[in-house]
Amino acid sequence: MQGLPLSFTDVAKTFTIKGEALRVIDGLTLNCPAGSFTAILGPSGCGKSTLLRLALALETEDGGSVKIGGEDPVIARRSGSVGVAFQDAALLPWRSVRDNVRLPFEVLGTAPDDDQIADLIELVGLKGFETAKPGELSGGMRQRVAIARSLVTDPRVLLMDEPFGALDLILRRQMNLELQRIWSAKRPTTLLITHGVDEAVYLADRVIVLSSRPARVVADIKIPFDRPRGPELLREAEFHGLCDEIGAYLETGREAA
């Protein structure tokens, strides 16, 4: 299935915390074409996650508009075209791995695709753990269940909020490889929020650097590497040059605040 375009147009969002208005996003515009992979970097608390929550219709924008495939995110999510993975696995502890991966179908009220569930569990390397409970799994394994779950509905838009943030470096690299493989096969429009500059450069077509509150685009960098990208890319000078360049933008973004 083809990805759907995701667009943020002149989006504004204000939170009220203890009676004080906090402008988190102010006039941000970002277009993610169908089938693209966009990574978003920015200092902590700059509103990256809010952007993702807006695309999931978990928050409502105060100004501007967020569209998925030209429609309201509420419609997109109800039709099952959105997949999501958060920083922590957010698994139901009383459900087995398989039942956790099945959860989106139950929420959507559609018939679960058991073959797809089995395939994805295998894809994320958890074959044999189908009946295990989250409590019996390691942190990395739990996160892989969440990744499988985010892909189980064959989403046309994939939203990920630091999905590998809690993992160690080795596991993170491994998951990055897997994510790239899965993404190349299905090509959902992907928005990845991350803290890892190397992860962003390694995975994305395009890296967006945001400034501190209120979030605005400091840099929009195209990543030129061919796909599929192997682990050897991580050792190339060009890769590191790009990472350093983005790192510099991140610092400017912080100073701008």
């Binding site: 957010a90 139901l92 959507l108």
Partner: protein
């Protein structure tokens, strides 16, 4: 940590202590050491209980029937209400007045009212259900609200609404909490059923049996009834505890959740004022509505206006006010005194549990025993030992207040980060120094929480003691009015004691906010 007895040793200490205490009881009974033989030997109590078991049976089944029916109904309502509060938070604010009333209401004060307004079994079931409602409702609500917000987000992200989140995530998340609520609710149901048997003229039921045996000088019979009531309370507790253990794989909650009805979120001043007003008026509306719906005679079933008429407008108003004021002046001071004594006891107990967990583990079964032992069964026994003076009131009040307070304080101790102790310990602090530097100050705010939870129980304890033992105060006034069929006074005492309880609760909450460095919130 050093000095802690590990698993088996702790159990051994507990077992030895229990055997010692039972032996001491037996010896004291045989030698008539306590108050001229009012504490019979345990063997005598059990022998008499076995001998009279045919007499017990109809009473036992009557109480079991009403208590369990009330337990089921109360819990169904409680879980449904928690779900409603969770789905529509404004409804929780609207029901705040009702919830606080149900929590603080001294069951003994409304028992006569229920007996007047409803027929036999219904009154008992209603009181049992009422007492069951609050612990299960708060436990269920807290459980539902502590559901993993990320998973809730996930459900919403796939287009699921609040109902779907409730059904797929919140209910199951709340299950252990609900079951721990049942642990508190089970003894409460027994207490409610027994209390509503008081003065109902019912032939069967442990409460009727107890009252009937009170006049005779037969301590072993009273202890037998007390033990039986304790046994069925404990049975309910154990069944709920086993179910909770089965679900969670561990056994934890022992008491009410600490977080109570939370403050309303920030909103317009006018709006929040309207909400407070609505929450205040709502209980009175429900009261009025229930009386209308019941179709009872206004002479028997008083509406809010009926009570105002009786207390302020009618020709008996002056004497009624005078009697109420005298009763209040007797009840209020002893309630506060009892609460403070209960808190102090709880504080000492939590210190003991901090300094020596091994001793604590040995004490805990006895502490639990006083909780499952219905208050009403305890009172006649306490009268036998302590007489009918102020001591008996204090003893009863301490015994009903300390446990909930202790659990709160112990939780407070447990919540102190271990690193804080490690820090002072690495500077060579002794256990006592750690206690003084960290544990006691950290406990400060929890004292207020414990006090707030203990106050309504203290009032209940005092009123029961007054009714059954001392012949003073609100409890006695209630009992007397029942005898004279003075319906106006019965309703007035019920209303005044509820208002008193709610007022004390709110004062405690205010004190907690002003002095206890901020409200204790869940997070």
């Amino acid at each position: 940590m050093t000095g802690r007895l590990t698993g088996n040793w702790g159990h051994l200490v507990t077992a030895v202590l229990i055997v010692c205490l039972l032996l001491a009881w037996e010896i004291a009974g045989q030698m008539k050491l306590v108050a001229g033989g009012t504490l019979p030997a345990i063997s005598a109590v059990i022998l008499r209980l076995i001998g009279e078991f045919d007499d017990y049976w109809p009473h036992l089944t009557a109480t079991l029937r009403t208590a369990s029916t009330g337990f089921v109904i109360g819990n169904l309502v409680a879980v449904a209400a928690a779900a409603m509060f969770c789905l529509w938070p404004f409804s929780e604010r609207l029901f705040r007045g009702i919830n606080i009333t149900v929590f603080t209401v001294p069951p003994i004060a409304i028992a006569p009212v229920l007996v007047i307004a409803l027929d036999g079994d219904t009154a008992r079931i209603t009181l049992a259900a009422l007492l069951v409602y609050f612990p299960t409702m708060t436990a269920a609500l807290t459980g539902m609200q502590t559901a993993d917000p990320r998973v809730i987000d996930l459900v919403h992200a796939y287009g699921g609404g609040n109902f779907k989140a409730l059904y797929l995530v919140r209910l199951r998340t709340a299950l252990p909490a609900i079951l721990s609520g049942f642990q508190i609710a089970a003894p409460a149901a027994v207490l409610g059923a027994i209390l509503a048997e008081f003065g109902s003229g019912a032939r069967w039921g442990l409460g009727s049996f107890l009252l009937g045996s009170l006049g005779r000088a037969e301590p072993d019979r009273l202890w037998g009834i007390g033990l039986t009531a304790t046994a069925i309370s404990a049975l309910g507790y154990v069944v709920a505890a086993v179910a909770a253990k089965w679900v969670t794989g561990e056994n934890k909650a022992l008491s009410l959740t600490v977080s109570q009805v939370r403050a309303a979120p920030a909103q317009g001043r006018l709006q929040s004022f309207a909400m407070v007003l609505a929450a205040l008026l709502f209980p009175f509306l429900v009261w009025q509505g229930l009386i209308w719906a019941s179709g009872l005679s206004p002479i028997i079933a008083k509406t809010p206006f009926g009570v105002i008429d009786y207390l302020f407008l009618g020709k008996t108003a002056e004497s009624a006010q005078a009697r109420l004021l005298v009763a209040l002046s007797q009840t209020v001071p002893i309630t506060l005194l009892g609460m403070i004594a209960g808190l102090l006891f709880a504080f000492l107990l939590s210190l003991v549990s901090f300094v020596s967990p091994a001793i604590m583990r040995a004490i805990l079964p006895f502490a639990l025993f006083t909780q499952t032992m219905p208050l009403v069964a305890l009172t006649p026994l306490a009268v036998l030992i302590f007489g009918r003076g102020i001591t008996v009131t204090l003893v009863i009040t301490i015994s009903v207040t300390f446990f909930a307070a202790f659990v709160v304080l112990a939780q407070g101790f447990a919540l102190i980060p271990k690193s804080a102790f490690d820090l002072v310990e690495s500077y060579g602090a002794s256990t006592w120094k750690k206690l003084w530097l960290i544990a006691v100050p950290a406990c400060g705010k929890w004292i207020f929480v414990a006090g707030r939870l203990a106050l309504p129980k203290a009032l209940l304890g005092v009123m029961i003691a007054e009714w059954l033992a001392t012949g003073k105060g609100l409890g006695n006034l209630l009992n007397q009015s029942r005898g004279y069929l003075d319906y106006g006074m019965i309703w007035s005492v019920a209303v005044v004691s509820i208002l008193l309880s709610v007022a004390l609760y709110q004062l405690a909450e205010l004190a907690e906010r002003l002095l206890g460095n901020g409200r204790v919130t869940r997070d």
